[in-house]
């Protein structure tokens, strides 16, 4: 579906992407990484919004530089922090977006209503978007993806800034999409909930990829112990000492004043690629 080869992007002296090589062919792929890891740059290049400095990208065998208009017919990209226009209603947004894709007005209205119905938003179809909640606003964009029936949907941090309930609402909407989805997030729970594969970006490079279970394999049978100014650590974040230890040693660390935490995808970030002792 998507083949990326030695993709580089430079902004002046800043190397946002440092040679990314990657094949993406799963239903839902999450790209995770800290702020500044290159996730948004990567997704903006794939969705034809940004030209790469070098390297190649093929989407369904179409070249990102030569076949831009063909690619734009099969993709949809919802940018980070996208907000609907306050004075326009959800249905007007959908109509407009589908008209932009070449639909007739009657088809745009029909497909728009279908998508709003699917996402349980029909009651709000004529409410100006500045009167909607944050989650509902974000769902307007998911409805665009649903209505347009494109092959590939790019979602750049689709739930950033939403409360937990709204986030779950958006996740449920995303699950209704038939398209292949590539989403960026720094919410580990989101990646774990939605994705078949996870790709980890760090400082403009892919540092690991796989299923959630595969990525957490090095942490198998381990717990994270942490303590302020603790004497033992694998990673130090400020004054917080963090160490990964076998589960059977948890009690010992508890008695020494450490907090003991279960492993989550967050630990991929926290561990920062350190090699864990078996």
């Amino acid at each position: 579906m998507i083949s990326v080869n030695d993709l580089k992007k430079r902004y002046g002296n800043i190397h946002a992407l440092k040679g990314v090589t990657l094949d993406i062919d799963d239903k839902v792929t999450s790209i995770i990484g800290r702020n500044g890891a290159g996730k948004t740059t990567f997704i903006r290049i794939l969705s034809t919004q940004l030209k790469p400095t070098s390297g190649s990208v093929k989407i369904n065998d179409l070249d990102i530089n030569k076949d831009v208009q063909k690619i734009r017919k099969i993709i949809l990209s919802i940018p980070q922090e996208a907000q609907p226009v306050g004075i326009m209603t959800p249905l007007e947004h959908l109509e407009l977006y589908l008209l932009a894709r070449g639909y007739s007005l009657s088809d745009a209205r029909k497909e728009g209503r279908y998508a709003l119905e699917e996402l349980e938003m029909r009651d709000f179809e004529n409410v100006p978007c500045d009167e909607l909640s944050g989650g509902m606003k974000r769902k307007v964009f998911v409805a665009m993806a649903l209505a347009s029936r494109v092959e590939i949907v790019f979602l750049d941090e689709p739930t950033t800034g939403l409360d937990p309930l709204s986030r779950m609402e958006v996740w449920n909407s995303i699950r209704k999409l038939d398209s292949n989805i590539i989403l960026t997030t720094h919410y580990m729970e989101e990646a774990s909930e939605l994705s078949d594969k996870v790709v980890v970006f760090s400082e403009g490079k892919v540092v690991s990829r796989g299923t959630v279970d595969e990525l957490l394999e090095p942490f198998k049978d381990k717990v994270r112990v942490e303590k302020t100014d603790g004497e033992e650590y694998d990673v130090k974040i400020g004054k917080l000492s963090i160490k990964y230890v076998p589960k059977h040693m948890a009690q010992e660390y508890l008695s020494r004043g450490y907090d003991v935490k279960n492993i989550t995808l967050d630990d991929l970030f926290i561990s920062r690629g350190i090699t864990l002792e078996s």
């Binding site: 919004q49 940004l50 004075i87 932009a100 007005l105 100006p128």
Partner: protein, 249 residues
Amino acid sequence: MTFSYLGGLRLNLRFILVFAYNYGLKFIKRGPSYLIASLALPLSLLFLIFIISGGKLLPYAIIGGVLSIVTSNAINGAADAAFFRLQIRFQDLFVASPLTKMDYMAALTASYFVFSLPGIVLYVALGFIFHILNLLKLIVLIIVIILITLSFTNLAFIIAGLLRHIRNVWGITAILSIIATVLTPTFYPYFIIPRDFLLILLISPITPASIFLQGYFGLAPYEPISIPILIIETIALMILGNIFIRWRE
């Protein structure tokens, strides 16, 4: 899923018209205060000029008022264009779609034109009431209004494209709007300005537009050179707007 064509230029007319309807006409209905705000300055100046000149300069105030409404609405488009690009990422949504930047720019331009329509209608009505306009003059006025809308909307795209963040955009558009509509000979006869200063003011398309209209309406000496200047400036701004819109960066 067919696209419409306009004079060989491939444009998505359905999108442009619906955008103009949703973002121009419905904006007037849902946010009428913006319409009143856009009319406040030209109507206040019309009142002042009428009182101070005892009605003698009323034709200038009416012609200037139309140009002022169209210009300030188009310049304010910079704030919208920047807001769409930098804040709510509405532009990015369309970049990654089959829509072309010409469609997007035409849609925004049409929406500002629609938003200006109530003001244009009001001033045209005043023009007929005070016997400043006839049908032929109205046609000429509409052509000039279209050129001014095109030139200042593209100026708006240039401003929006140059900005890295939106915090100053409302200040910049307010300043530009005042410079473009009050400093230039929009509400007063162009021939009372020193020639050298007038040449500097010609950099703004509203100056050749005002010179042309004042001459054509018989209010001031006719300067035919103002027409090519207006057309050249409009084309130049359209080319620059097309570059600075930052469609695919």
